[in-house]
């Protein structure tokens, strides 16, 4: 049978390779704008105004209206050949927005407002804090849950930890990808992205539990087999199911991505990305890690490098 577990060192290496570009992007982003990923106004506070113009306008014209009023820190993104404008600036009151829209209409022709969102900075900070708490809470809960579900297996806590490591891997890869996308296309991380991350965490743990469950079942049934053989067998036995399930969920997400509304495209993409990463990391991060741990290979690696340094 195909020996995934045997090639575990390669797979762990591949995982590292996946993470590195993401981390690089996040560092660059941090140096450029002060945050590792582009944050939406949900976290930073500010105003988002989306307008539809009847005639094509230039972003400079739009921007000038704002800078004339002292709102220098304004960015304008045009779409649909200059007819759709997405404007980001400081938080503004409803009255100011009405004035600005009037002025824009006087200068650039009739327009309609598609979206107006203004978030004060305190709310933004709170959302950020709550987001961090939510991620930590989910991690703790899941660790506890896995440890509890596998309490009768020797070294139960290992399963929980491997699940958490896999989970962090998925989260870091997701953030990394959005860091890259933020640099290239200006994609932002908003409250929905957070929901996507938390959902992905939920599903990805779901996935890994099925494999761990099978390992748990096989250990008493196959006494005498070496640990890595049992693990590999369990992996292959559950492979069908993992792929089939992910495939179905992916079908639906791709359909929404292609045919669904534009406003949730990034959200759906985040979920899709997370699911693909999740499937990969169940097989190639969580499980190999479990074996590596069991066999004490980390200790061996450290000892070997110390020996060669000596």
């Amino acid at each position: 049978m195909f020996d995934i577990v045997g090639k575990r060192k390669w797979f762990l290496l591949i995982s590292l390779l996946l993470i590195v570009p993401g981390l690089v992007a996040m560092v660059i982003s941090y140096l450029q704008v002060g945050t590792p990923v582009r944050l939406s106004i949900d976290f930073t506070g500010g105003t988002l105004l989306e307008l539809q113009f009847e005639q094509s306008v230039s972003s400079e014209d739009v921007r000038r209206v704002f800078t004339d009023r002292g709102l220098g820190d304004t960015s304008v993104q045009m779409a649909e050949e200059g007819r759709n404008a997405v404007i980001r600036t400081k938080p503004m009151t409803a009255e100011l927005r009405v004035e600005i829209e009037q002025e824009l209409e006087d200068r650039l022709g009739s327009l309609s407002e598609l979206r107006f969102e203004s978030v004060g900075p305190t709310v933004g900070r709170e959302v950020t804090r709550a987001a961090v708490i939510a991620i930590l809470a989910v991690s703790v809960v899941i660790l506890g849950f896995v440890a509890f579900a596998f309490r009768r297996v020797p070294h139960a806590i290992r399963y929980g930890v491997c699940a958490i490591v896999k989970m962090f891997h998925d989260v870091v890869v997701s953030f990394g990808v959005f860091g890259v996308l933020g640099l290239l296309f200006g994609w932002e991380v908003d409250a929905l992205f957070l929901s996507a991350i938390l959902t992905v965490i939920g599903f990805s743990v779901q996935d890994v539990i099925v494999v761990f469950d099978r390992i748990r079942e096989n250990i008493p049934r196959r006494r005498g087999e070496k640990y890595e053989v049992i693990v590999n067998r369990s992996l292959l036995e559950t492979l069908h199911r993992s792929l089939a399930t992910q495939l179905n969920a992916i079908f639906i997400m791709v359909a929404i991505l292609l045919f669904g509304g534009a406003t949730i495209k990034q959200f759906i993409f985040a979920i899709l990305l997370g699911m693909v990463t999740g499937t990969y990391s169940s097989l190639c991060v969580a499980v190999p890690l479990l074996v590596v741990w069991e066999k004490g290979e980390i200790g061996q690696l450290l000892r070997r490098s110390r020996k060669s340094a000596a």
Binding site: D42, A94, V98, L192, L247, I271
Partner: protein
């Protein structure tokens, strides 16, 4: 066929029929007036703000940092805001306390969001102040002694400008019994007030003692009118005449009718979505969902053959029951909420896949069809339960996150995903199992020979 299977099948058919009726568009709703039961429920899809357009505002208590806000005063503020919202005449509004010091207001389909927000957030404190012999221009902002226990000795009027002087509050909105908008014969709006008995007494006394003096009418510390007292007013009725529009008058009346807010509020978050964006999203989501569902149905049928087709049937029933639940509870559907629902459809198959893979293993190992079915379902159940539990826990945390911060998109997503997973656990196991058992009990062990049909 076992007795239990027949019963379950009947139950499933029953639920399906009810589900179909609930989900059907233009549902007439439940109107039962039979004996002691009086039920009037409309059954509609409740669309969130991002799908029907509207406005969401987060109001926060605007007090100094060391001021402690009691839950009672927040509850009082919330109910005043709620009354005002109802006074605006918006259909299906939402007013909720969020966290410790915030109120979330959602106004779907509102025409004039700016005025609505102004009406809601203004404190609404009405005062009649003794302006002596100084006429105050409407629009002047003044200081009054309302709420100050010891206002100190008022300075002589001549030394201070109108905006520095602290005026004496004669009577306030607390003593109001009612307020109405009144149109005179020139269609010019004015506001007629009626005071309570105590208020009428105070008013009568003051007007009798202050003929030919100005009595300024002040709303939230801004003068809106400054009439001269010409005669004493014994009946506790007064009219505010000024240069305001009909909408202004209506706003003011709404603020006065339900009382002044105990704590001042400020806007910390304001989101408005135009309806066109929403309509577009609904259409696209329905298309996308349908396409996705069809792909999943095809996949299951091709990959798992006969059990796959049965699972497809169970899946359609699942989607219908879930959606029926959304309509009945009701759950407000947002765009992420719809995505959550579709996601749960995608994973409803997961449970079935787990079961089928187990069944295939048992069949390959040589067990009989009956044993394989039984083993497949019972063995897979622990996996299904444990793995769905983690998603449910995540949903709970997301829900907490959403409600505390007034992020109804996140909340909507959490709710639909949660419900979807719960219902899927039921349909995947009970419904599919019943279908399979019924079919296999009709065909018998012979089916085991037709490996192709079983997808082994």
């Amino acid at each position: 066929m076992r007795q239990r299977d027949i019963q379950l099948l009947a139950l499933i058919v029953f639920l399906t029929v009810i589900g179909a009726w609930v989900v059907w568009p233009d549902n007439p709703g439940l109107h039962i007036h039979w004996g002691p039961i009086n039920l009037d429920r409309d059954i509609d899809t409740h669309l969130g703000l991002d799908l029907q357009g509207g406005m969401q505002v987060l109001l926060e208590a605007d007090v100094p940092a060391d001021f402690s806000i009691t839950r009672d005063s927040m509850a009082a503020a919330k109910s005043i805001v709620e009354n005002r919202v109802n006074g605006l005449g918006v259909s299906e509004p939402l007013v909720q306390v969020a966290g410790e010091d915030r109120i979330l207001v959602e106004l779907p389909g509102i025409d004039d969001p700016e005025r609505a927000v102004a009406t809601l957030k203004e404190t609404g404190l009405l005062e009649f102040i003794d302006a002596g012999s100084t006429f105050l221009m409407p629009g002047t902002v003044v200081k009054t002694d309302f709420g100050q226990a010891d206002a100190g000795i008022p300075e002589p009027a001549e030394d201070l400008t109108p905006t520095e002087r602290v005026y004496v509050s004669v009577i306030t909105g607390k003593d109001l019994k009612g307020a109405e908008v009144y149109l005179d014969q020139y269609s010019k709006p004015s506001i007629s007030l009626e005071f309570t008995d105590e208020g009428a007494e105070i008013f009568a006394e003051h007007t009798a003692a202050n003929i030919s003096k100005y009595l300024a009418i002040v709303l939230d510390k801004e003068v809106i009118s400054c009439p001269i007292i010409e005669t004493p007013i014994p009946d506790g009725k007064a009219t505010i005449r000024g240069e305001f529009s009909l909408e202004d008058a209506r706003s003011i009346v709404i603020q006065l009718k339900y009382g002044a807010l105990p704590i001042p509020l400020k806007i910390v978050e304001n989101r408005t979505i135009g309806p066109s964006l929403g309509e577009d999203s609904v259409e696209k989501s329905v298309t996308a969902g349908t396409i996705g569902l069809i792909v999943v149905l095809l996949f299951m049928a091709i990959y798992y053959r006969l059990p796959g087709v049965l699972a497809d049937l169970a899946l359609v029933i699942y989607a219908m029951i879930s959606f029926a639940l959304f309509k009945l509870i009701p759950v407000t559907l947002t765009l992420p909420g719809i995505a959550g629902f579709l996601l749960s459809v995608g994973t409803a198959v997961d449970a079935n896949i787990l079961i089928f893979e187990r069944m295939k293993e048992e069949l390959r190992a040589g067990k009989s069809l009956n044993m394989a079915i039984r083993a497949g379902f019972s063995r897979a159940w622990t996996s299904i339960r444990d793995s769905n539990l983690s998603t449910l826990l995540t949903c709970a945390i997301l829900f907490w996150f959403g409600s505390n911060l007034g992020a109804s998109m996140v909340k909507g997503f959490a709710v639909t995903l949660f419900l979807g997973v719960v219902v899927s656990m039921f349909t995947a196991v009970t419904v599919t199992r019943t279908f399979i058992r019924v079919v296999f009990s009709l065909t018998g062990e012979r089916l085991r020979e037709k490996k192709w049909l079983l997808g082994i």
